[in-house]
Amino acid sequence: MCISWCAAGGKETMTWTLVLVLSAIAYACKVSGLVIIGGRDLPEVVDRCLNLIPAALVSALVVNSTIGVGDGIVVDARAVGVVAAVLVAAKRAPLVVVIVAGAAVTAVVRAFGFAP
């Protein structure tokens, strides 16, 4: 079993290892809550921390996928699109509308050559 070292060297890409190991981990998480632990309560402090995982990680994913390029930071057309997405999402627009707004604004900014 190789997780980190098998793809060392060249440019990283999607691997079957990633797909299958993540499948196992994801199902283990789901089944442990519903079937194995099921019914028993977790300590309140653990519960509170787990509840904050989406907020902390997903906001980091917003930043990472907006300005991240490898190990560096680049502000390009994506940033304009994401600002548009934030404005639309703040109006409680459905998921699909937020995604389309972000992509469309990015495409337009790029097409008119305002930013790469």
Partner: protein, 224 residues
């Protein structure tokens, strides 16, 4: 995700219909995933198997976006696993509603996700909660996987950047984080996560900033 509209006091049939509509909306997100996964170097088969087996949108997007930004498989797995961990919490929440045979619960586990849990916990009657869970979970499963296939096939045929699809990921994450910003602790955790990520990007390998951002959850140690 933000497209959740809890229908109170409606009968089972209209409840099931609104669950199915939610699933269809998620299907569009599945198309985005398919396109992004292929753009990150995944094959169509890899992309579809990931949606069929992993079946947790945020984890899948996280894994693919870490790989797309040059991160290692280990970094992609670590961030995606942290996001998958919350399904365990959903399972705990749903275990009171979903009683029944072991086989049924083993199947239910695969569709214990954001949408099915949110839809189910929004119902007052136990029967409605079960209907909402199964209808939402199964319709999201069908539409998410159909969307992934369409996106993966289309992703091979189009230039994602021309249509701004590289911004579809962060835009989707924006929509997904919004419901968590309604509470003060969620806003603070999100702020810390975003800040830590931005600061650590230049100094750490791709994918690691996402893990560093998880320090934001330690806010939960203190009582609100």
């Amino acid at each position: 995700m933000s497209a959740i509209d809890a229908t109170e006091g409606s009968d089972d049939r209209s409840l099931a219909a609104s669950c199915a509509v939610l699933g269809a909306a998620v299907g569009v997100f599945g198309i985005t995933f398919g396109v992004g996964s292929v753009a990150a170097g995944g094959s169509v088969a890899m992309t579809c198997v990931m949606s069929l087996l992993v079946f947790t949108g945020a984890s899948q997007f996280s894994a693919v976006s870490v790989v797309a930004s040059g991160g290692s498989t280990a970094a992609a797995l670590a961030g995606a696993s942290l996001l998958a961990a919350r399904n365990g919490v959903y399972g705990l929440a749903m275990s009171r509603t979903l009683r029944g045979s072991l086989l049924k619960r083993i199947l239910a586990a695969q569709i214990t996700i954001d949408e099915s849990t949110a839809m189910s916990t929004a119902q007052e009657e136990p029967q409605a909660a079960r209907v909402a869970f199964w209808w939402t979970g199964l319709s999201v499963y069908v539409f998410w996987n159909a969307g992934t296939l369409i996106g993966a096939l289309a992703g091979n045929a189009i230039d994602p950047e021309k249509f701004g699809l590289d911004a579809a990921f962060p835009a989707g994450f924006v929509a997904m984080v919004m419901p968590h910003l309604r509470h003060r602790s969620g806003r603070r955790a999100a702020g810390i996560g975003a800040l830590v990520c931005a600061v650590t990007i230049p100094f750490t390998p791709a994918g690691v900033p996402i893990l560093c951002a998880s320090v934001g959850v330690l806010l939960g140690v203190k009582k609100p």
